[in-house]
């Protein structure tokens, strides 16, 4: 059954009475400043609103209901305790401008979070203010820029980015005023070091890498990369979206990175919320400390305190009206305290175990690995090039067929360099049984496509809608209801 729009449920004059104050407050404003058009907000009863949004929620897949082997996204279990405790009234009611003397409880959490993030990355300072990975990148690359400019080095106008990189990397570099030079990937999945040597030079402001890469492969020659970039006078930026694979195994700081952002909504399990909020906390080594975005938390004589622009004059500045996504940060903090030291070490252990297990089983089931000679890190790439050709089993067809079997699809068509690819990341919080059922479903789809190639093109058939006309959506954009 389809669910009407909330506007269609409404009737003029209907009111959720308990939510609406009585009429009658005087408005002494000049009439020309007032609105006369009535905004198109729904007029529904409280029951209708509750029922509508409850029913809509049921039209979603989610971690709480399905397995999400979604590469690059680290869809792990979001502990409900993190939600409950981050939503304690004292935290929810705290005003962002509440002075430090009445904020020590909250500041203590943020300070400790900064310290823990330093420990797991090998950086010396962290700022929690970026509100998503892309904003973390922006602040990181802006710091690289500020660093060079501060030294009077004005010629560094390029940022190197591998072709496998996430789209936010090149987009960010440009948003920071740099030109992007793309680095090819070698046949073995590592960076093409020769190309790197060719491209690195006096115009190189820095390189943006994630290690393991978005191919799920650990960049084995990372020390060489470091030497080349540092040798050329550039800095290394670490996209921490894939930190899950190496938590407690190797520190980005030890690999030579100068700056890092971490997607707390990935490795530190804050929920994705149907597309955010996240947090892209950013960490730096000593060289970049002066440029860290404000505010962050320091310690003073009277306890924890905010470090603001005034105390940190070379900072690249503010990224948000207040201090970033505090509620997300609290969730990450709680999660880290529940994991503890040993728990964090285990994250990579089991994330990598799960990925390699699924990889081995899928290979045995007849799927082609993009890099069969390599170990998977927390994720790996399968290519359906052969199956697409032979049975019409493209990545998208397989993705939709999985939905019908109760699994979210892996990431498809990313990284762009592998044709008909699936990027599969099981995460450490899924059990062997779930992984086995997933592999069985994959094998089942493959078998079905071999027998009846048309079938998978029809999928999904069990969802609230079947395949949507995206061309029409883009050609004649309907972005808003008009009655």
């Amino acid at each position: 059954m389809s669910e009407p729009l909330v506007f269609e449920l409404g009737r003029s004059g209907r009111l959720a009475g308990a939510q609406v104050p009585e009429a009658g407050a005087a408005v002494d404003l000049p009439p020309e400043m007032l609105r006369d058009s009535r905004p198109q907000l729904p007029e529904v009863s409280e029951l209708d609103a509750v029922r509508h949004y409850t029913r809509l929620s049921q039209r979603n897949f989610s971690i709480d209901t399905q397995f999400y082997p979604l590469g690059s996204c680290t869809m792990k279990y979001n502990p409900r305790g993190c939600n409950t405790y981050a939503m304690l009234p004292g935290f929810l009611q705290r005003h962002p401008l509440a002075p430090e003397d009445v904020s020590q409880g909250f500041l203590a959490c943020m300070y400790e979070l900064q310290r823990m993030l330093c420990r797991v990355t090998g950086m010396t300072a962290f700022s929690l203010t970026p509100m998503a990975g892309a904003q973390g990148e922006l602040s990181g690359v802006a710091m690289i820029r500020a660093y060079h400019l501060d030294r009077g080095d004005t010629e560094r106008t390029e940022i190197l980015v591998p072709d496998a990189a996430h789209g936010t990397n090149p987009a960010t570099a440009v948003k920071c005023g740099f030109a992007v030079r793309e680095l090819p990937t070698a046949a073995d999945g590592d960076l093409d070091i020769d190309a790197l040597r060719r491209l690195a030079g006096p115009r190189t402001a820095g390189i943006m890498l994630t290690n393991p890469s978005t191919l799920g492969l650990f960049e084995r020659r990372i020390q060489e990369v470091r030497d080349i970039i540092h040798g050329a006078g550039g800095l290394l930026y670490y996209d921490g979206a894939n930190l899950n694979a190496i938590l407690g195994k190797v520190l980005p700081g030890d690999m030579g990175f100068d700056v890092i952002h971490i997607n707390l909504h990935k490795t530190f399990s804050t929920p994705h919320g149907g597309g955010g909020p996240g947090s892209g906390a950013v960490g730096v080594g000593e060289r970049l400390e002066p440029f860290l975005p404000t505010p962050f938390v320091g310690i003073g004589a009277d306890g924890y305190r905010w470090v603001d622009a005034a105390d940190h004059p070379k900072s690249i500045g503010r990224l948000s009206a207040f201090m970033g996504n505090a509620g997300v940060l609290l969730r990450a903090y709680i999660y880290m305290r529940m994991l503890g030291r040993r728990g964090m070490e285990r994250v990579a252990d089991y994330a990598v175990l799960n990925a390699n297990y699924v990889m081995a089983r899928l290979a045995a089931a007849g799927f082609d690995l993009a890099y069969p000679e390599r170990r998977a890190c927390h994720e790996f790439v399968v290519t359906l090039k052969r199956q697409a050709r032979e049975h019409g089993l493209t990545a998208i067809n397989l993705a939709k067929a999985l939905l019908d079997r109760g699994f979210h699809a892996p990431t498809t068509y990313f990284p762009l360099l592998v044709p008909e690819c699936l990027l599969i990341e099981p995460t450490e919080t899924e059990s062997k049984e779930t992984l086995d059922r997933f592999v069985d479903a994959m094998a089942d789809i493959l078998a079905e496509a071999q027998v009846d190639p048309e079938r998978c093109k029809q999928a999904p058939v069990t969802m609230p809608v079947r395949r949507l006309d995206e061309v029409r959506a883009a050609r004649k954009p309907d972005l808003r209801y008009r009655p």
Partner: protein, 458 residues
């Protein structure tokens, strides 16, 4: 092992399938000299019970009895249903709705949200959210720069009465793009932007004008004049608005003769708790003609292969995952869950409720301002009409008064001297609909005695 389901037997069986002897072998591609023995400086694990206790203690420590602080973040009533629904696992733990068929819930919510925000701001289209109000303004300005083909200066006029934190974020994000931010002073008597100063820029190549409504002082700007000035001078008008105020005030799309081209602002007043400043959400709406320069996600309604209506992300060619270095913005993850909360909030209060809440906030702040006039030396700093926030000029330092109020459990307002040296004796005070007559009375009493105390002072 918290959150890891593997039994010893599971691990063994999995290792066997992979064909390795131990988990460590799986990390063999990491160069040996980089391999960590163990993490240092991370405390031992706590159970949920233990961490709950810690968090309860810390949360309780910061609780304040009574809040009269606004300045960009407002304490409104949030219907219980909003967060009981928003934190349902299916919203809370869902991914970005890239697989449309398995995400119709979130997609429809966003489509409804886009409709509400576009209408609330009086414009045609809304994106699916930005990080917060300040970063949305930065994107709005960058968007205006891209859209205004007639202008090459990248000069943007920014009122000094814009929230200083917004101004700072604008600086951080647009400075690397060569945008030139030019201050517009405020009228010292009225507290609104000095339109005379605008005229000093007449004839210049101005790319955009930022128009906050209300401005940081709670004062209403001459939005019609400013918008018309922009139109007359080939600049795009970018409104930065409090969405709660729009329950009552003329929306950006209706300002002046043509309306603002772009509107943005902080969505927090629409059902999002104060929570130390985030997560909130920025909204961004614009005229139809500008939609392909609008950054961020967009949801469209379409049909499936059977002709059944459904929703999907659309116009993705503007975005980083398709267009990469040539994308309109680098934004990827936005503030989806907050949008869910705001959509439910707006559904519950409706057009009538939003108007009444706005009117009540306004009336409460007016009552507070009136109440304080009986205290010697206290006056309303600015003469122009204001919405639900007011600057009080005090006979003593604002900072000290606020400290004394805090000792009584009252967050008494924002110390404007921090941002505007010329306003060191002024505090910015806000009473929303959640402050009762009794609360206001208590505030007035406390303010009186705090000022008296300082007067007597050492």
């Amino acid at each position: 092992m918290p959150f890891i389901p593997h039994t010893g037997a599971d691990t063994d069986a999995m290792l066997k399938t992979i064909g390795v002897a131990g988990i460590d072998e799986l990390f063999e591609e990491i160069p040996g000299d980089l391999r960590l023995e163990s993490l240092e400086g991370i405390p031992d694990a706590m159970t949920e019970s233990e961490v709950g206790r810690l968090m309860r203690r810390r949360a309780a420590r910061d609780e304040m009895a009574l809040n009269f602080l606004g300045a960009g973040a407002y304490e409104h009533h949030i219907p219980a249903a909003v967060w009981e629904l928003t934190t349902r696992g299916e919203f809370y733990s869902a991914y970005t709705p890239y697989q449309a068929e398995a995400s119709q819930g979130t997609l429809q919510v966003i489509y409804e949200y886009q409709t509400m925000m576009a209408s609330l701001t009086g414009l045609d289209v809304s994106n699916a959210s930005h990080y917060d109000g300040a970063s949305a303004l930065a994107e709005a300005v960058l968007m205006a720069v891209r859209c205004n083909r007639r202008s090459t200066s990248r000069r943007v006029l920014v009122p000094r009465a814009l929230h200083p934190h917004y101004r700072a974020v604008l600086e951080t994000i647009t400075s690397t793009q060569g945008v030139d931010l030019v201050d517009l002073p405020y009228d010292p008597a009225g507290g609104h932007t000095d339109t005379g100063a605008l005229d000093d820029h007449a004839g210049e190549d101005v790319t955009a004008v930022v128009i906050p409504q209300p401005n940081v002082f709670g004062v209403l700007e001459p939005v019609d004049t400013m918008t018309d000035w922009a139109a007359d001078n080939g600049a795009l008008a970018v409104g930065v608005v409090n969405p709660m105020a729009l329950g009552l005030l003329k929306p950006p799309g209706e300002w002046g003769r043509e309306g603002a081209a772009i509107a943005c602002g902080e969505g927090q007043p629409l059902g999002v708790p104060l929570s130390s400043g985030g997560p909130y959400f920025g909204f961004l709406t614009c005229r139809q003609a500008l939609v392909r320069q609008l950054p961020g996600r967009l949801v469209g309604r379409t049909v499936d292969v059977d002709g059944k209506p459904g929703f999907t992300l659309t116009l993705q060619a503007r975005e980083q995952h398709i267009r990469r270095s040539r994308a309109t913005s680098n934004i990827c993850t936005n503030q989806g869950l907050m949008v869910t909360a705001a959509t439910i909030y707006m559904s519950l209060v409706g057009p009538v409720g939003l108007r009444r809440v706005a009117a009540l906030c306004h009336a409460r702040t007016a009552a507070l301002a009136a109440g304080t006039q009986s205290i010697g030396g206290v006056s309303v700093a600015f003469a122009s009409p204001h919405f639900h926030e007011v600057v009080l000029r005090l006979p003593v330092s604002g900072n000290e008064v606020l400290e004394r109020l805090r000792a009584q459990g009252i967050l008494g307002g924002a110390d404007l001297g921090r941002w505007y040296p010329e306003l060191g004796d002024a505090v910015l005070v806000c009473a929303t609909e959640t402050r009762t007559g009794q609360d206001i009375h208590r505030y007035v009493e406390a303010l009186g005695s705090a000022i008296g105390g300082i007067g007597d002072g050492p």
